[in-house]
Symmetry: C2
Subunit: 282 residues, 2 copies
């Protein structure tokens, strides 16, 4: 497995791989890999001749008061996990390599990035779309795999790829959960043991939504109210948002057509956790 630290070398690797007629799969990550990432990597391996994983904590997707500095990092561990999974190349650039001091260009997705997570993190998604555009141009993959855990991000990336005609196929892989239901996240490590236990209420609130919906309650306000009450009763978490939106447009649900995304964000002290589920229209 190759560890590549410069844009120029990454480009050369991709160019020669493509020249051999091999396809390239790509999993962009911020490192500190957990089972959720490994599933993305295994999904990608199914489809591609060669697999690139990027490990880069992207500063432009963190707000000024967010956890960029303390975001967990462990490259040695990430490297050995990637090796075990049969990754062909790890792209591990420095901040200096990725952003020059006079960086001016951003990719924005109007409306989609201003709602839900975009309310409390107003510059987050433009950081995400910008770094993904950069990585796509550097790695030039045939397809890239993202996790459904970041549901809004997945919608935004798919929209960016379609709107800007990136020649990259996007695959979204399912959420991976701990045995008690908590969605896997590098940020779970911030939780103390009481918070860790209470945080399972996020998944239970989503299960409640599924049960309500399949039981015939199609009133978003009523479902969200029940979720809110459950979370407030069973945890000290502070709800950032609970939303039910059209799973493709993130707009108002279209009664009878289009799946519905139920998504939420909850703070446990300064740790912000997100989770979601899709209500399928049959």
């Amino acid at each position: 497995m190759k560890v590549i630290k410069t844009i120029e070398e990454m480009r050369r690797w991709s160019r020669s791989t493509r020249a051999r007629g091999e396809t390239i799969g790509f999993v962009p990550t911020m490192g500190y890999l957990h089972e959720g990432h490994l599933r993305l990597i295994r999904e990608a391996k199914k489809h591609a001749d060669r697999l690139v994983v990027s490990i880069y904590v992207n500063p432009t997707q963190f707000g000024p008061n967010e956890d960029f500095e303390r975001y967990p990092r462990d490259f040695a561990r990430d490297e050995s996990l990637c090796k075990q999974e049969g990754v062909d190349a790890v792209f591990y650039p420095s901040n200096e390599e990725m952003y020059r001091p006079f960086h001016k260009t951003y990719v924005i997705t109007e409306d989609l990035s201003e709602i839900m997570c975009g309310v409390s993190r107003p510059t987050h998604f433009r950081g995400v779309t910008t770094i993904v555009a950069k990585l796509f141009n550097i790695v030039q993959p045939d397809f890239a795999v993202f996790g459904q855990k970041d549901a809004q991000q997945a919608v935004i990336i798919k929209r960016m790829v379609e709107d800007l005609n990136f020649p990259v196929k996007i695959i979204v892989a399912p959420i991976v959960r701990e045995s008690d239901g908590l969605a896997m996240s590098s940020r779970n490590k911030y939780l103390n043991s009481r918070q860790r236990k209470e945080a399972t209420v996020l998944y239970r609130s989503l299960q409640l939504a599924e049960k309500e919906y399949s039981g015939g309650n199609h009133d978003p306000e009523s479902i969200k109210q029940k979720m809110r009450r459950l979370i407030e009763r069973e945890s000290g978490g502070k709800i950032d948002y609970i939303e039910m939106v059209d799973a493709e447009t993130l707009g108002a649900p279209r009664p009878g057509e289009g799946d519905i995304l139920v998504a939420l964000a909850v703070y446990f002290n300064s740790t912000r956790l997100i989770d979601n589920t899709i209500l399928k229209i049959r």
Copy 2:
């Protein structure tokens, strides 16, 4: 020469061209080709095995009260000119092909797009960077040629390509002028005969700047004042702006280092003409 109207077919053409190991040059245009465009095409032909010209009047780079509707179009003539010049493929998509009704994604370049032409055309450059990003992703050229006539656009495109790591080399070709000095532009056709004559004052004002500068006057305010007086004395044109900026950053000139861009925009009634020159630091 192939005329290609769909994104899918353009992608296929590029993919098979690259698979044969041939390089692709690209000249994006809004059509109504004049000698200035033909020089860009000839410049591109020098460097590439295959040459693509796009002809597309991009709606997102026109403001609501600008000349999108009346912008001159003559595809039959453009097609025959491209054929004469030995172009391999003309990409000529419809608006429906290029922008879906729910298009949400834009590429922006902060600061650079808000000054000079960006003051009177606040959404112009994000339209330009967005369509160029789309065309690069569709055509996937090895290099693309732009004209120095649109100096601010050239700086912004180069910055976008560097910041987002597009694998495309940018070549900027010199301004082509009519025999009396007027820079060639599709918009010159809007001018009546009096305006057409008066419009030569733009180039003369730039020549004045060159003379002042080489004669030892390095005071931008004094030079701009002299240009302004000349234009106001010898034409009915209404000056939009006259700027002297660092040719690379579009910021304040750095005394003694970095070339200086002298750029201007002048309205002749509703027709807005731009022109520029570079003062070389020796």
